[in-house]
């Protein structure tokens, strides 16, 4: 197993470092962590895209792109993620490891420098972002928010979360709202950039073959221009207030298949027990949802459960024939009731345990998954390693799972159905 090292490079700037030679490429990430709040979500979401349009040195995308091409097709992608009640915005770079470049070229330093320039030395005109860059990317952001409705499966999950956590920071979508995004001005965006640059905590991540001192040196040099003033710590995610009664929400769109999304709240602090419980319920091909809703009743192609760790919420997602809404809902709830009553056999527990063991073990085989995991840990102020969590899962018993499931309540049911459908008990 890889050793993870965490270092503070500057005030509020941390590096998570993993040395590994097994991959053909390296990953380098630089993320600003800001508490999710209504007023700045859209501006924060827009920032990486505008910054990615050009730096002081490479002032447009074509020049930037050419520079990356010459670094053997290094890639720097914009990311906007939600981790607990924080918004994480920034860049993730991927480039060939030193031992694989055709002529032994070293790519870490130039890529780190580009990354630092994207954050600290953007293309500007009269001390502002270029108006055409802001306009262009604002239109793209608005389109991106609107296009969430194109994929109905994801749309139903997004809508469920908005409804279930309305009034909470967690209910804010990672990109914000279309209406607010449309209003962003170049001036306000620049103000937010200046504020964020000096006050946000930054999480840097590197995995590749380069030794730690070289990575530290490259990043310190690349981010030497990063201003540091009074820092805003990442937000601590607040618990979801338990619902008094279940809310049922039905919306209509022009679809042929209905999308059913359920949200359960829970109160247990025993995360490993809840994780195993949710895997038994809907996390694998031997789960209760898969074996019953799909295999036994042939009601759907997919029905699965996800545990949202930081908020202690469990959601279920399924696509069903619109007229089968009630049957599917009943069956999904019946399986939850059965699991909570302890109608769980030994093989189900063993199977869920091996599914989770595999998922955690192989996380270290994927650069993308590791970067995302450690970002979540840092944003949530958690220090547990992947191995540590794996060991805790081995110790979970049925009794602990049932105790953890005690506090599970059905909070919200969301159903997306066809416009033409006049009937419906939803």
């Amino acid at each position: 197993m890889m050793e993870m090292t965490r270092r503070k490079l500057m005030p509020g700037v941390y590096l998570t470092y993993l040395q590994e030679r097994k991959f053909k490429t390296n990953v380098l990430s630089a993320q600003a962590i800001v508490p999710l709040e209504q007023k700045n979500t859209e501006r924060n979401a827009l920032l990486p895209a505008v910054l990615r349009r050009g730096t002081a040195r490479y002032s447009d995308m074509q020049q930037l792109s050419a520079a990356l091409d010459l670094l053997y097709g290094a890639r720097i992608d914009c990311t906007v993620r939600k981790k607990g009640e924080n918004q994480c915005v920034g860049f993730v770079a991927s480039f060939i490891d030193d031992h694989m470049t055709p002529n032994g070229e070293k790519l870490l330093e130039p890529v780190a420098e580009l990354m630092g320039d994207l954050w600290c030395n953007p293309a500007t005109r009269s001390g502002r972002f270029l108006a055409e860059y802001v306009q262009g990317e604002r239109a793209n952001l608005v389109d991106q928010i609107r296009s969430q409705r194109n994929d109905k499966r994801i749309y139903a999950s997004v809508r469920l979360m908005q409804e279930m956590c309305r009034g909470e920071a967690y209910g804010i979508s990672r990109l914000g709202s279309e209406k607010e995004a449309e209003k962003i001005s170049a001036g306000k965006l620049y103000q937010q950039y200046v504020a964020l640059l000096s006050s946000a905590c930054f999480e840097l991540f590197y995995c590749g073959s380069a030794p730690l001192p070289r990575v530290e040196q490259a990043l310190l040099s690349a981010f030497s221009a990063l201003p540091r003033a009074e820092l805003v710590d990442p937000a601590i995610t607040l618990p979801h207030p338990p619902a008094q009664e279940t809310r049922f929400i039905t919306e209509e769109m022009d679809v042929t298949q209905g999308k059913l999304a359920l949200g359960f709240s829970s109160t247990s602090p025993d995360y490993p027990a809840l994780l195993l419980f949710s895997t038994i319920y809907g996390g694998s091909a031997t789960s209760k949802l898969f074996l019953n809703v799909r295999e036994k009743e042939s009601l759907c192609y997919y029905a699965s459960a996800t545990l949202h760790r930081q908020k202690n919420l469990l959601t279920v997602s399924s696509g069903v024939e619109i007229e089968n809404y009630q049957r599917a809902l009943d069956e999904i709830l019946a399986q939850m009731a059965a699991a909570r009553r302890g109608e769980v056999e030994d093989w189900e527990i063993a199977s869920a345990r091996s599914t989770m063991r595999h998922a955690l073990r192989t996380m270290c085989d994927s650069l993308g998954q590791m970067e995302d995991f450690y970002l979540g840990q840092a944003a949530g102020g958690m220090s547990e390693t992947i191995d540590g969590l794996r060991e805790k899962l081995e110790e979970v018993t049925l009794e602990r799972m049932l105790a953890a499931a005690e506090g599970i309540r059905l909070d919200t049911v969301y159903f997306l159905k066809n416009k033409a459908q006049k009937e419906g008990k939803a």
């Binding site: 053909k24 053997y72 991106q144 609107r146 409705r149 194109n150 769109m253 042939s298 192989t362 085989d365």
Partner: protein, 425 residues
């Protein structure tokens, strides 16, 4: 087994053509927790008409995909559930040309591999179990029919091709799958799931000799002659329809432009054709191309805009698209840019950049066990070497790219497929 070391890629590969005809490829890897196994047959949704034991068989659209679902049934239970219990993460997919079954695991690898090889080679269906799957697959079809990206792709292929079975959706339709019977599935299995029509690739911390031993023990010895398939009349060089339109509940128009290219080749020529096509796409509309920059700056395309070159048995095509408020302008701009390149040639600096990008992205693909396994098996079906790209790369010139663009990207070979937003009622 034959051992080949690829020094540019820092990989060693072991290969063997088994006595029963199976192509076996093993790629040992150190330092990873998982091992990946991919077992595939050269049989996909396109193979609807074929000759079995001297008689021509016509099968309904979606039968290869249906068979994939039902292969997991065993007399003793369900293979997917057994693999899951062994700690393996297993699944399968059907494409136009292949059906592949795979798992990755970090424990019980040998037992899981034996199970994979055995459930895929031993069919077990009853009329009842076949009928039961209709509900599940019907929901899978409904799900993809609601997906605009799927519709825009599916319509594009119908716009490009007159006869070729790539026009037919992989899963078929709710109506076509209603005709499927247990006997039909047995026939298709017998025709296409013979080891001589299949390949196995394992990537991970394994001993190649051990894999070979397991494959020989579990798989049947039979070796039948190659099955003759019928893909219909030969295609005309021009596109079947210049424009395909559909309305759905989308936020803005989704589009794909397609350009019908030359029929796909085989052997090393296939590998070369594939590389030339991908590099041509980079030069024509890749992120560093002048066209991309112009369209992006004008707000005609966004970061979703992308494309590439695809090859299927008998055909090949370029496709590119995304979301745009003005898809027809983008379509015209691509044709204009191709005409300009045909007149003026390929820019030297852009060509050099493209060479590096292509090399980097091929290497990046090798981080993924899945890409290595699927890529190796597909390459073996085409008669070429997945790991041979650094050498093939050296044989490609600017003139090859220019010729490819000049011949392929022309108005008569082009189709645009669009999904337009529903009009407000």
């Amino acid at each position: 087994m034959i051992e080949t070391h690829y020094k540019h890629l820092d990989e060693t590969v072991f290969r063997e053509t088994c006595e029963n005809g199976l192509e076996l490829i093993v790629v040992p890897k150190e330092g990873f927790a998982k091992t990946y196994a991919f077992f595939a047959t050269k049989y996909g949704s396109m193979d609807m008409r074929f000759c079995l034991n001297g008689a021509w068989k016509n099968t309904p659209a979606g039968v290869a995909h249906y068979l994939e679902h039902k292969m997991f049934d065993m007399e003793s239970g369900n293979a997917l559930q057994e693999l899951t219990q062994l700690g393996a993460e297993a699944n399968a997919f059907t494409s136009d040309a292949i059906t592949g079954y795979y798992f990755e695991s970090s424990e019980n690898f040998e037992e899981s591999l034996r199970l994979l090889l055995s459930f895929v080679s031993v069919p077990y269906f009853t009329e009842e179990s076949v009928a039961k799957e209709q509900g599940i697959i019907a929901q899978e079809i409904r799900m993809i029919e609601d997906n605009p990206s799927w519709q825009v792709y599916s319509n594009l292929l119908r716009g490009l091709y007159q006869n070729h079975p790539a026009r037919i959706p992989v899963a078929g339709s709710v109506e076509s799958i209603a005709e499927i019977t247990a006997q039909m599935l047995y026939d298709c299995h017998s025709a296409f799931y013979d080891p001589s029509n299949m390949a196995l690739c394992v990537v991970g911390h394994v001993d190649p000799a051990e894999i070979l031993k397991i494959a020989n023990e579990v798989l049947p010895a039979s070796r039948r002659p190659a099955i003759v398939r019928d893909y219909g009349q030969e295609e005309l060089p021009c596109a079947a329809a210049p424009r395909m339109e559909m309305r759905m509940e989308v936020s803005q128009p989704q589009f794909l432009c397609g350009y019908k290219c030359a029929p796909s080749l085989s052997g090393e020529a296939y590998a070369r054709q594939e590389l030339i096509g991908s590099m041509a796409c980079e030069i024509l509309f890749g992120e560093s191309s002048p066209l991309y920059h112009r369209l992006y700056t004008a707000g005609k395309i966004n970061g979703e805009f992308s494309g590439g070159y695809d090859l299927l048995p008998g055909i090949s095509f370029i496709l590119v698209g995304g979301e745009s408020s003005a898809p027809l302008e983008v379509h015209q701009a691509i044709l204009d840019e191709a005409a300009r390149i045909a007149r003026e040639g390929v820019d030297e600096a852009l060509y050099e950049q493209t060479r590096r990008v292509t090399y980097g992205s091929l290497l990046r693909g090798m981080n993924s066990f899945e890409s290595i396994a699927v890529g190796s098996v597909e390459s073996s079906f085409h008669g070429c070497d997945y790991f041979g790209f650094p050498e093939v790369f050296e044989t490609i010139t600017k003139a090859d790219i220019m010729q490819f663009i000049t011949e392929s990207v022309t108005p008569e070979r082009a189709t645009i497929s669009m999904i337009l937003p529903k009009e407000e009622s």
